[in-house]
Amino acid sequence: MELVEQLRGRQEAIARRWLEDTLATYAAETARRLDRDQDRFTNPVGYALRTGTQAVVAGLLEGRTAEVLSGCLDEIIRIRAVQEFAPSQAVGFVFRLREVIRAEVQGDSTLRPLASGLGELEERIERLGLLAFDLYMKYRQRIFELRVNEMKRSVAKVIERMNRFRPGAEGGGLEDPGTDGPSERGSG
């Protein structure tokens, strides 16, 4: 895979292009700020995007296992799973890597003759896309579990039990407090 070897030398440029492409899925003002602040704590999303895309490109060109690649993608997908993206947008950026690499090859006359190697690389990217989808589902699932866990920890039922026993109150106790929780229509 001569192409892959050549591309390894341009790893950084590819990752940068891909990062820019991914940043463009955010509002323009947001993208600028995600790119500018290098601090991992005040800009955790920018940090995850930058380090994640670099790691994925390196791993992909080095032919790393699915497990390793999945680890590189993990944080980005964990983040995008809670941002306001449609599922296709949340994972779609992975497939854009194909275009990024094609553009890199197309833009360089020394690489173009090696383009027959693209097929395999693109297959790897497709597999990467599927990994991203798995991760996305894993995190969406987790969000719902967290909701359920909160409901389980929810105190409403405990209080209901606590208030049931009313010493000395013969039916004339206080009206029930509202412990029925929220509902979509605000009724009930």
């Binding site: 463009a24 899925t25 955010y26 509002a27 003002e29 947001t30 700020r33 995600l34 602040d37 601090d39 991992r40 704590f41 005040t42 800009n43 955790p44 999303v45 964990r78 983040i79 809670v82 941002q83 306001e84 947008q89 779609g92 275009e99 094609r102 553009a103 197309q106 173009r112 383009a115 027959s116 693209l118 097929g119 987790r142 969000i143 967290l146 909701r147 866990n149 909160e150 920890r153 105190v155 405990v158 209080i159 606590m162 208030n163 026993f165 009313r166 010493p167 106790g173 206080l174 009206e175 407090p177 509202g178 412990t179 929220p182 509902s183 979509e184 229509r185 605000g186 009724s187 009930g188």
Partner: protein, 550 residues
């Protein structure tokens, strides 16, 4: 089909091009798009009725028609005019922003989510643009060019969406050169929405409960006593000590008030058990109140009038019971109210004495006016005077970091006391990175009435910066506990950690204090207050005095 070595192959790129980039549009022209996971369900009609609030009705956020009163616009503009007269800070904040952008990337909701309208400067522009249009001469003339816009139903909807994506944490205000406090603008925005009967149920139901029963959860007096009795049983199992539960005890020296989250929710209850043990050991002459059974005050997330209404019970109960001063538990927004509003809205508390610790004799001059002392100040003073017998090694299985809760940190400057206490009760305490703690602390993402579950994605986005810093110390130092002195944190950070830093559990500080304390007459301490085995302490009595860790 062209092959990759033919130029035509590359042209597919254009064919594949899909329009995934968000269009560049001015914020005023971007209408609000209510996303599931980002908005909170509306307040139920019956809650509004209980509180005598306007326009009670059943409606859904996604309804086209929010059933606003016919003269809704007049109501909002008059409400705004009234508040501009009444609160000087509101007027100053409306006038003085120069849109420098220093606050723009300081909000956890913007940092984690990326929606530009969650930049504090834009959040306040939502209101300011209407202010310009209707209250400034320039705005009237220049209109949109001058950053002014017409008040429409869509604007109201946008206010609802974004003023309930602000946790009133005040992080942004730390960075504003003019000290503009977006939290206060959010509070104003919510008050104005309230005039139209627009509330969220997660706030207004607790408010309605608090109004009738004294606490957000609607726990009635016998229920409160029962729950404390349950805790006393667990305390006995863990320590062999039976603690008293002084309830509504007239003539007690101290009234103790804490958020009701500590009565029922795990892990808050362990902190509550900690209070009971501590007071027992000190022989403190204190009392619980079954009516001032809530330190928290969701009125803060509703309106100034509601803050006053709900908080009045604290002084009223102090007076009725004839105590000398008030001690308050671990809570966040409760302390913002007590520290910044109580004196003005419910004071003066001239029937109380300046708080003085009966154990150390320390006079809490800082509480001279409110007469209310924070449990961390109280405990730090006890430790400082050597009044607690501590065995921090009992907490050696805990590797703890400390989350500065927004309100104690930014609204009352309580930065050192909790750290001082933690260092004395734990041997393994690690700070999170400097730019994520103290005054710059990141919010849990679920304060100010956002801690419900239908907006889970929003909360997780908001909790990302905090979660990322927790995971950093987890990976670097093996941190497995996150301590927080706030009841909302103790509920919401559990979820934040489960998502961003799984494996880290949440705790209150008094729980750790009680686990480290040696009590008079205690039996062998094999389990902690969670009734979980204490690693390395299974046979502590035998190894004592042997000088060996074996």
């Amino acid at each position: 089909m062209p092959t990759p070595d033919e130029m035509a192959y590359y042209r597919q790129e254009e064919l594949l091009e899909i329009d995934y980039r968000p269009p560049e549009r001015g914020w005023m022209d971007t209408p609000v798009d209510f996303r599931r996971g980002s908005y909170i369900y509306p307040g139920k009609a019956k809650m509004l009725e209980i509180l005598g609030l306007p326009n009670p009705r059943d409606w859904a956020v996604t309804d086209e028609d929010w059933k606003l009163p016919d003269n809704w616009k007049q109501i909002v503009l008059e409400g705004m005019a009234e508040r501009l007269r009444k609160y000087r800070s509101f007027k100053v904040f409306m006038d003085s922003c120069v849109r420098c952008g220093a606050c723009a990337d300081k909000c956890h909701f913007f940092i984690g989510g990326g929606d530009p309208k969650n930049m504090p400067v834009l959040r306040s522009e939502l209101l300011r643009s209407v202010y310009r249009k209707d209250f400034t001469a320039l705005g009237k003339v220049l209109g949109k060019l001058g950053g002014a816009r017409e008040l429409t139903v869509d604007v109201i909807k946008e206010w609802f969406y974004y003023f309930y994506q602000c946790t009133e944490c005040r992080r942004c205000s730390v960075f504003c050169p003019f000290g503009i406090d977006t939290a206060e603008i959010t509070m104003m925005g919510r008050e104005l929405l309230g005039l139209l009967g627009i509330y969220v149920n997660w706030v207004i139901e607790p408010v309605a409960n608090c109004y009738r029963y004294g606490n957000h959860l609607g726990i009635q007096p016998h229920g409160l006593l029962d729950t404390l009795e349950f805790m006393a049983d667990d305390i006995e199992e863990a320590t062999g000590i039976r603690v008293d539960i002084p309830m509504n005890k007239k003539g007690a020296e101290i009234l103790f008030v804490t958020p009701s989250g500590d009565f029922v929710a795990d892990p808050g209850i362990f902190t509550c058990m900690g209070y009971m043990l501590l007071f027992h050991e000190l022989g403190l002459d204190y009392t619980w109140s079954s009516y001032a059974s809530e330190g928290g005050n969701f009125g803060l997330f509703t309106s100034h009038e509601m803050i006053k209404r709900l908080n009045a019970k604290i002084y009223a109960e102090a007076k009725r019971l004839g105590v000398k001063w008030i001690l308050g538990g671990e809570c966040g927004h409760m302390w913002r109210v007590l520290h910044q509003y109580m004196d003005t809205v419910n004071g003066p508390a001239d029937f109380l004495e300046v708080p003085r610790s009966p154990i150390t004799g320390t006079v809490f001059e800082n509480a001279r006016s409110t007469k209310m002392v924070h449990i961390m100040e109280f405990v730090a003073d006890l430790i400082h005077h050597g009044k607690l017998k501590l065995r921090p090694e009992r907490n050696d299985y805990v590797r703890v970091t400390f989350h500065d809760s927004c309100n104690p940190a930014r609204a009352m400057g309580l930065l050192e006391e909790p750290r001082y206490v933690l260092r004395h009760v734990c041997n393994h305490f690690y700070e999170m990175p400097e730019n994520t703690i103290r005054e710059q602390t990141f919010c849990c993402g679920g304060g100010a009435g956002l801690g419900t579950d239908e907006n889970m994605e929003m909360r997780l986005r908001g909790g990302l910066p905090r979660g990322a810093a927790v995971r950093y110390v987890q990976e670097k130092y093996g941190v497995n506990r996150l301590a927080a002195i706030c009841a909302i944190d103790r509920a919401t950070l559990v979820t934040v950690c489960d998502y961003w830093a799984p494996g880290v559990k949440v705790t209150g500080i008094t729980e750790l204090v009680a686990n480290a304390m040696v009590f008079e007459g205690e039996h062998e301490r094999k389990v902690d207050l969670r009734l979980e085995p204490i690693p390395g302490m299974e046979g502590e009595q035998e190894s004592e005095g042997s000088g060996s860790d074996e």
